[in-house]
Structure formats: C-alpha cells, structure tokens
Amino acid sequence: MSASPLVAYPTDTLKVNSRPTASPLKRPISAAPSSDGTPRPPVQAQPTRPHATMDLAEQMNDDEKRKWVKGKKLGEGTYANVFAAHLRTDPSQKAAIKKIKVQKEYRDGMAPDALREIKHLQELNHPNVVRLISVFSSKDQNLNLVLEYLPLGDLEDLIRNVNTYRYGAADIKAWMGMLCRGVWFCHENFVLHRDIKPNNILIAANGEAKLADFGLARSFSDPAIPMTTNVITRWYRPPELLFGARHYSGAVDVWSVGLVFAELIIRSPFLPGDSEINQIDCICRAIGTPTEENWPGVTKLPGYAVAGETVPVYGKDAYMGRFGAVGADGVDLLMKTLVLDPRKRITAREMLEHKWWRSEPKPTRNEDLPRKTKGGLEKMAADLKRVNPMEEDNRGAKVARKLDFGAMKK
C-alpha cells in the first residue's frame, strides 16, 4: 500500500528548516555576456553586488551560508567545534552548526568520519535520525554541518543519572520504539550505522530520540566486498565482529540495540568488557558460549577464540530475573536481539513487528517522558562534541575509531 507518510513530505519541504531544494536557477545573474559570447567589460557591472566575482558553485555555497546566523560557541573538541545557530529569516528556527576542523592526523584529505557522516545524513530523513539540514563551507575551508537542534542531552545521561531521572517500563518502551525505528529506517535505506550506543542517541526538545553520529556508517556491502571489523564501541560490539567476520549485515546494529535495551533496564552497561578478549568472555558468561551447535561455522571465523568452559546459552528464566521489569514480551524481544548467531538474530523490521509493542503498558508519549529541564545549551555542546573520536571521555569508542582508520588505509 502506498499510504506511507512519505507522500506528505512535499508540504514538509516547504517549511523553513527543510533541506535545500531551491534551484540555483532562480537567481538572476547580473553578469550576462552579450549574445555573441564576447564578454562585456566587467568594470561597468554593479560593483557592489555580493556575488561579484564568484563562480556559480561559490554563489550556491554562499547562499546556503547566508541562511544561517552562527551564534555562541557551545563546545570544542578535537574533531569539531559546535556553535548555536538560527535561521537568518526566522531566529526561532534553531540549529547547531558543527564546524569540522581540518584533521591534522589524517593526511589524506577529508577524514573518513566526516565524509561518511555527510554522505549518509544527506540522504536520510526520518524523525528518529538526526537531521542534517544543510552543509556549507566557510572561507577558511572548514566544513559546517547544520544539524537539527537537540537540546535535551542523550540517553546515556538518562541512564547514568540514577538519582535524577526515574523511569519505568513504559518510558523504556517509548525510547526503544524510537531507537528501533531509526535503525530500521537506516537498514531500509541500506545503511549500517555501526556505532549504536546510548550516548549516540540524542533527545530533541519534544522528547523524540534520534540516532546520531554517522561517522562510522556505511552502505550495505555488495557480495564479495569485505568490510572492516573495527567498528562499534566495544561494549556494544557483536560477537561476529569480535571474531573478525568481514561480511556482516544489519544484525550487527541489532546486537547493539539489544545492549542499549538491556542497559536501559539495569541502568549500567550489560557487557562492559575491558578488552576485546575480555568482551568475548563477558558475552560467553552472560549470554552463552558460541559453539558450532548454536552457531554453525563460528569456529572457522578468523578471530574465533573462547576461553574457559563452554557456558550453555541462557534460557528465559535467567533473563526474567534480571530484566523482568519490561515484562515477558520485553524479555523475549531482548533475547532475540542477543542471539549469538547473526543469521538467527531478529532483524530491525521484525523488531518493530514484535508483540511487545502491543502488550501493556503502552509506550509513554514523548511529552511525558522524563527529560532534562536545565542546562540544555551546554549539554548539547557536550553531546554533539562527543562525536569526536579522539576525546578522552568517549569511553571505548576511541579504540574502534583509531584502529578503523588504519585498517581502511590498506
């Protein structure tokens, strides 16, 4: 059927904060040559016009740039600085401008992080994916990403601040619904996110949760084209990546979603391994040891190594004890995301088709979700800025990122 909300998009695009659709043709250009192609002496042309000596490309970039008024600096990282911004024609339309610095340690031009983020966010438009409103360059050759304004922090804040935020099963269901939709949308558009974790899930002013940081994203690979295994922050990295599989699927993101789910419930990371080896240990002990029986072929994966005795895969009872707060259906969904064999793991679409969404309690409405009330601006800076792969506070991410660059540069 075609009653998809996509058809409503055209009206959307008319709003001010829409993506650039305006044709550059609409601008009348004053320096037209005479009809025989010989140029007029340019001196007579109006000297004050803003685009006096710009190429068409520069004019288009300039138009994009002029739409925005850059405000106060919100934060600084080694990868990017973040500024508040608003639309010139309507100051109530807020945005954040992420100004990407020239990366000195990457000598091969535009860094992969920035390139991947821009490439994918330019194409993805969904309420649960952070929106890239515009990109332009400034004179000093920095990239400016105009991103949607997300002032209410991230999921990690909500999870960690046990004393500040109290939430229940209905809230978890609401957040998980939004997360799953975002991931599903990416997968439907053949994009793997490859870095899903609580602090990459940001909260908008209306309470909507949004998947952010596409610095490690890539399109689904075609057959025979290998992918790097050094992606996804360690605690959220699935066993197939830890075992070095070079051909994988959306299942890697689903595993991460499952761990975010678990973390929302117990309010601490479920599998906090302190090294890759230890991460495999954690998985074996908390979920079960991957074997040929539960995952045919696994022992042939290049990095397969499990220590200690074989732990059988845990059944529902074990999970109910720890994760029972989300009910039997919720636990069922959680277990399906944490299936060792990626072929048997639930897909993003199947997650949304799961019965948990229809069982009680109903998901909390966005406006009723627990949320941050103060300090939005500074927090947003901290959150956006954390996209920086080199930042110290970025937990395990740095491991994945650093290795990633090396691995890609064959």
């Binding site: 075609s2 998809s4 909300p5 998009y9 055209p10 695009t13 659709t21 046990v162 109290r166 939430y167 229940g168 099963a169 809230d171 939709r181 439907e188 053949f190 689904f220 075609d222 057959p223 197939e240 075992f243 599989a245 070079r246 051909h247 994988y248 699927s249 959306g250 299942a251 419930i265 117990i266 309010r267 601490s268 906090p272 391994g273 302190d274 230890n278 240990d281 954690c282 002990r285 908390a286 072929g297 042939k300 994966l301 220590a307 200690g308 732990v311 004890g321 720890r322 990626p342 072929r343 949304l352 969404w357 229809r358 309690p361 109903k362 909390t364 409405r365 009723d368 110290e392 506070d393």
Partner: protein, 383 residues
C-alpha cells in the same frame, strides 16, 4: 531633522549642547579644533571627549582649560559645563557610536529586567520595545529636543522609582554570572579529575593484568584448575563506574539488593496516555514496494554461490539484503520524470499527483461526515 540616523549624520551629536555643528571623527582630522595644534607638531597628541557633549579636544587643551576647576566647553555655542574628571579618550573613532554606546549602556543598567520577570513573552517583548523606543529618542532626537528631554525624564523617573528592583536585578545578574563561572570551573575541574582517574585506572588495570597474567602462568605451571581461577578473578575486576560484569549465577538478586535496579520502585507515572489508537511501532512509515515483490528465493547462480559461502553467511551476511537492494534499485525512481517535475517546479510530485494526493486526503477526512456508513468499510480496505 529626521529621526533616521542615515539622514541625520554626525553633525548633530551635540546632544547636551544642542545643535553644535561639526563634531569630528578624530581619526579623520589630526588637528585639535580648539588650539589648532596639528599632529605634525605634536606627535603624542591625544584627543579626549567628555560625555556631556562629546566635543573632542586635545589633552593639552583639557589640562589648560579644566585643571583649575569646572569650565564651559570651548566649542562655540556649546554651553555645557565640563569637569576635568569627566574627560576620557573615546573607544570608537566615530563619536556618534561612542555616544550611542554610552547611552545604551546607561539605559540597560536601569532597565535590567529579564524574561522571567514577565507574565508572558508578549509582555516581555512589549517591554523591550518600550525600552528601545526610549533609547532611540535619547540617541537620535538631536533636533527634537523635547523628545529627548522627555525620554531623559522618563529614564530618571524610572530609575528613582525602581531603585530597589534595579539593584536586585543587577545583583541577580552578577550572581548568575558568578554561578555560571563557577559551574564552568567545576566542570573543567571534574573533567580533569576524570582524565586523571581514567589514566590512573588504566595504569592500575595494566599492572593488574600483568600481575594476573604472571599468576595465571604460575598457576598453569602448577597444574589444573588454573582456568577457573582466572575466570573468577576476571569477574571481579570490572570497572568501578560500571556494574561488575554479570556473574553467570544469581547476579540478578545481588544487583537488585544493591539497589542498582532502580526500575523497581519507580515513581508512578500519572497514568498511561489516553488511548489515541493503537501504538504503531512503524509510526506510519511503510516501505513495502508497490511495483515488485520480494521473494525468498531468487534466480541467480551468482548470489546462490555467496549464500552458500560460509565466509559470507557465518558472519551474518545475508544475500537477501543484497537482493532487496538490487530490486529496490531496479524499480525505484522508475516513475520519476525529472524533466517534467523539475520544469514545473513542483518539489516532489508532478502537479497531477499533488492534486490527487490532496483530494485523497480531503476525501479521507470528510468521509465519515458526508457518508456515515463509510465507517463500516474502513476495516476491509486493507483486507
């Protein structure tokens, strides 16, 4: 003279003196208008102004005229009485600007309410407008002396009447600044501490690992049971910030007792939302293809090969994902007619489609009103 600054050039800045012509931008004129000394003769010549009338003169003149007490401004027609104390050097080259900045600073010190002080945003905006009008009169009504005086009187009156409030706001502002400053400092310090902590932890972990490896080797050398011991110790390591790595057995009770399961005694939410229809996990999005069907089996020896290849399948690579993508690529955009759509300027649909779509929406909404019986059919539309 007009209220518009563009029409009223800097000739009229003599707000206090009233109509003194020719206040000069210092940078453009290197001659003291009072003693006619030129910079050529006195390289260190410095111009000063007095915010009473903003007439510039060189520091020598100021000393000469005002060292012995208050005196009248030497400019012809300017009757302001100036004091030595009031003179300073201008920050801006353009004295109109200098004066406006002074005025605005003064007004802002008096009208220092914040948005929180008002009932509604509208009230706040009205207030801002009022303040701006008053400021404007003070700044730009050089010719219309009455206007300026009135504004001046208003300002003073307000200042007198609301002394306490103003003081309070000022204090609040200072406090806000102070808190913000302190918070920033605290955050910076906390970040520093975290880094130190992390570095320390990393180092400890490293030592611990070295130690445990050595012990493990020792144990191994001694005989069996080593693996078990090692496993157990790993379990105890864990990160101080995070929960300990889950133990295989009975971890749930332990953590529950330790209160980490905050989810249990949660605040009762007011109540689940009014049912606004069943929850749609897809939130209305539907990507089922219209033009083709995805099948589980597909005719391609090439793909079958990959489907059977353990290197692909064990890691979860699913050729069906490729198949779905190939099919999507083959049919997506087939009915997008770029020439027409881009020419007509409609953003995403041809003109006809827009019309159809609009009609469809209208029909859907007005349906029950026009024909109540339609309700009965709603269910079988998708059947």
């Amino acid at each position: 003279m007009s209220r518009k600054p563009a029409v009223a050039p800097r000739a009229s800045i003599g707000g206090g003196g009233g109509g003194v012509p020719g206040a000069l931008a210092i940078s453009s004129d290197d001659m003291c208008p009072v003693c006619k000394t030129i910079r050529y003769l006195n390289k260190d010549m410095e111009f000063l102004i007095n915010p009473e009338c903003y007439h510039p003169m060189c520091s020598n003149c100021v000393n000469r005229l005002f060292n012995d007490g208050p005196n009248q401004c030497p400019y012809a027609g300017c009757h302001q009485t100036l004091r030595r104390k009031g003179f300073r050097s201008a920050f801006f080259g353009d004295l109109t600007v200098e004066r406006e900045v002074d005025i605005r600073r003064r007004v802002a010190a008096v009208f220092n309410q914040v948005e929180d002080d008002f009932e509604t945003l509208g009230d706040y905006n009205d207030y801002l407008q009022q303040v701006e009008d008053l400021t404007f009169d003070l700044v730009f009504s050089g010719a219309d002396e009455g206007r300026r005086r009135k504004a001046e009187a208003n300002l003073q009156q307000w200042e007198a009447e609301h002394k306490a409030d103003i003081e309070r706001n000022k204090k609040a502002g200072r406090e806000a600044d102070e808190t913000a400053r302190r918070r920033l400092a605290a955050e910076r310090e906390a970040a520093r501490q975290r880094r130190l902590e992390a570095a320390r932890e990393a180092e400890e972990e490293r030592l611990e690992r070295v130690r445990s490896n050595e012990e493990a080797l020792d144990q191994l050398a001694k005989g069996d049971g080593a693996a078990k011991v090692q496993l157990k110790r790993r379990g105890q390591q864990g990160r101080p910030v995070a929960a300990p790595a889950p133990e295989a057995d009975g971890a749930a009770e332990v953590t529950g007792a330790a209160g980490r399961l905050s989810i249990r005694g949660l605040k009762e939410k007011k109540r689940a939302p009014e049912s606004t229809g069943p929850y749609d996990p897809f939130a209305g999005y539907d990507f089922h293809p219209d033009r083709y069907k995805l099948r589980d089996a597909f005719a391609s020896d090439w793909l079958d090969g990959f489907a059977r290849d353990p290197k692909h399948s064990t890691g979860g690579y699913d050729v069906r994902e490729y198949y779905a993508r190939a099919m999507f690529d083959a049919f997506s955009g087939m009915g997008v007619f770029i020439g027409d759509e881009k020419e007509t300027g409609s953003l995403d649909m041809s003109a006809r489609e827009v019309a159809d779509f609009g009609a469809g929406m209208a029909a859907e909404q007005s349906g029950p009103v026009v024909a109540p019986s339609i309700r009965m059919e709603v269910d079988d539309v998708f059947a």
